[in-house]
Amino acid sequence: MIKLQSVTKAYGRVAHALDDVSLHVAKGEIVFLTGASGAGKTTILRLIHMQTRPTKGEVRVSRFSSSRIKRRELPELRRRVGYVFQEFRLLENLSAGENVAFALECTGSPRAKIGPRVQKLLAQVGLAARARSYPRELSGGEQQRVAIARALATEPLVLLADEPTGNLDERASSGVFELFRRINASGTTVVMATHDAELIRRHPDIRVIELETGSVVFDSAAAGAAP
């Protein structure tokens, strides 16, 4: 599903955000991407989402390749790869339901189907009753759930999450994480960047890829054991 082949990403001339990274994430897998700040976690997510291209090497997502994808094909890729941010990034002037509907509208969903689909998505993240609430009226955990519902609107094959529990307390954090597990259980590949060691420790069954200054220093799939 996702393949990074000898990927180097340099910003400017000196600093290498990623240095010759190769990794493979299979369809339906769930993966923790961990490491200190600046280790290259976000860079990997951005490369998979093709917000940026590798300086060297190739990133493949489903049938899309970073070395061949055209600008006009990016929307198609992004409908298949959902993205969840640490700071939720909801539109403050729209209600929870409208935030989800926004994603459906701008990706061309038929108008008649938007309402029922929004209800279904909000129910999926446990917020069926909060459709009319505005982000400021929601807790952090609830806002992140709305953001996840929005990311799921286009029925992506892959869900990328950049520190999705970073701004949440422990209770909200584990609730959101369980949601990711459920999404994964329904067949969506999930790649979650996190530096929450406790979260990783509590889920030893999940594959962990650890980065350090732009290189993979540990991959539990290769090691055959949890860190």
Binding site: P75, E76, R79, R80, F85, R89, L91, A103, C106, R150
Partner: protein, 287 residues
């Protein structure tokens, strides 16, 4: 529908900038409009003068009138010529005494009529050009009994030069103001894009196409252009009415000029928006 709603919301978000853009288009097209009214009326005046453009051939004294009759028929058959009038010596004297009343004594004391007979060839509407006049003059000059041909070449030339200068002036002024208006619309659209940066970024994240993202801004440009154009028409018409009543009688420009002006304003707005939005959107990606 969404695009129109978004575009109107765009105006609502930055009414001052939207108003400025509309104002800029209105003022620029108003100036072009004034020139257009002026040009149209100069044109009209020129065509009035033009219809008087004629080739006059003065004939030798004592020329056989039958020969002249044949020549008239021949000249009337020229493609450029609409009508040929023969003015006999007597008629020339009569006209002169009528038109130049202060010399009526001189004319009545004359023993010999000094005025020559003449053929006056009026050119067809499409042939009132210096070239056609010269062509006709050359052909008429070849008759033996023609002493001299006059057609006021310099005068015709000057009229045409004036018309060209007026036309060129309108075009140049129109173009420079259009550039100014386009720049302003560009700024307005750029501001609108910036104001919606967050939304656009989310659109890109979830996979909206560039065309979808761009559309409301293009509609905003189109509406800005059209409203500015309409305002310019109203201003121009008001000024025209004022001048027409108080200063000198004028004629309003043909309707299709107005239609073309409005269409141009709309297209200008849209093109300026398209250029700005293309450049600005490249700068926005998913955070």
């Amino acid at each position: 529908m969404r695009s129109v709603r978004e575009a109107l919301a765009g105006f609502g978000r930055a009414p001052l900038l939207g108003g400025l853009s509309i104002g800029a288009i209105a003022v620029s097209l108003f100036i072009v409009g004034l020139f257009a009214v002026a040009a149209h009326n100069v044109d009209r005046a020129l065509s009035g003068v033009e219809s008087r453009v004629e080739v006059v051939a003065y004939l030798d004294d004592g020329v056989d009138e039958e020969l002249v009759g044949l020549a008239v028929a021949e000249i009337e058959a020229y493609p450029e010529v609409q009508q040929v009038t023969y003015v006999s010596k007597v008629e020339a004297l009569y006209r002169a005494s009528q038109e130049l009343t202060e010399f009526s004594d001189v004319f009545s004391d004359l023993e010999v009529n000094p005025l020559p007979a003449s053929l006056v060839a009026q050119l067809g509407e499409d042939d009132r050009t210096p070239d056609a006049a010269e062509r006709v003059a050359e052909r008429i000059e070849s008759y033996d009994f023609v002493e001299e041909v006059r057609y006021g070449r310099e005068w015709v030339d000057r009229l045409y030069r004036l018309r060209r200068i007026v036309g060129g002036g309108v075009l140049l002024l129109g173009a420079s103001f259009a550039v100014g208006a386009a720049l302003l619309i560009g700024i307005a659209v750029r501001m609108a894009v910036l104001a919606r940066r967050r939304e656009i970024s989310i659109m890109k994240t979830v996979g909206a196409t560039e065309a979808y993202i761009r559309r409301p801004f293009l509609v905003e440009g189109l509406l800005t252009g059209l409203v500015g154009g309409l305002l310019a028409v109203v201003l121009t018409y008001g000024t025209y009415r004022l001048v027409d009543r108080a200063l000198l009688p004028l004629e309003w420009v043909p309707e299709w000029w107005v239609t073309i002006g409005l269409g141009f304003a709309g297209l200008l707005g849209m093109a300026a928006a398209a250029r700005a939005v293309r450049r600005e959107l490249r700068g926005i990606d998913v955070y």
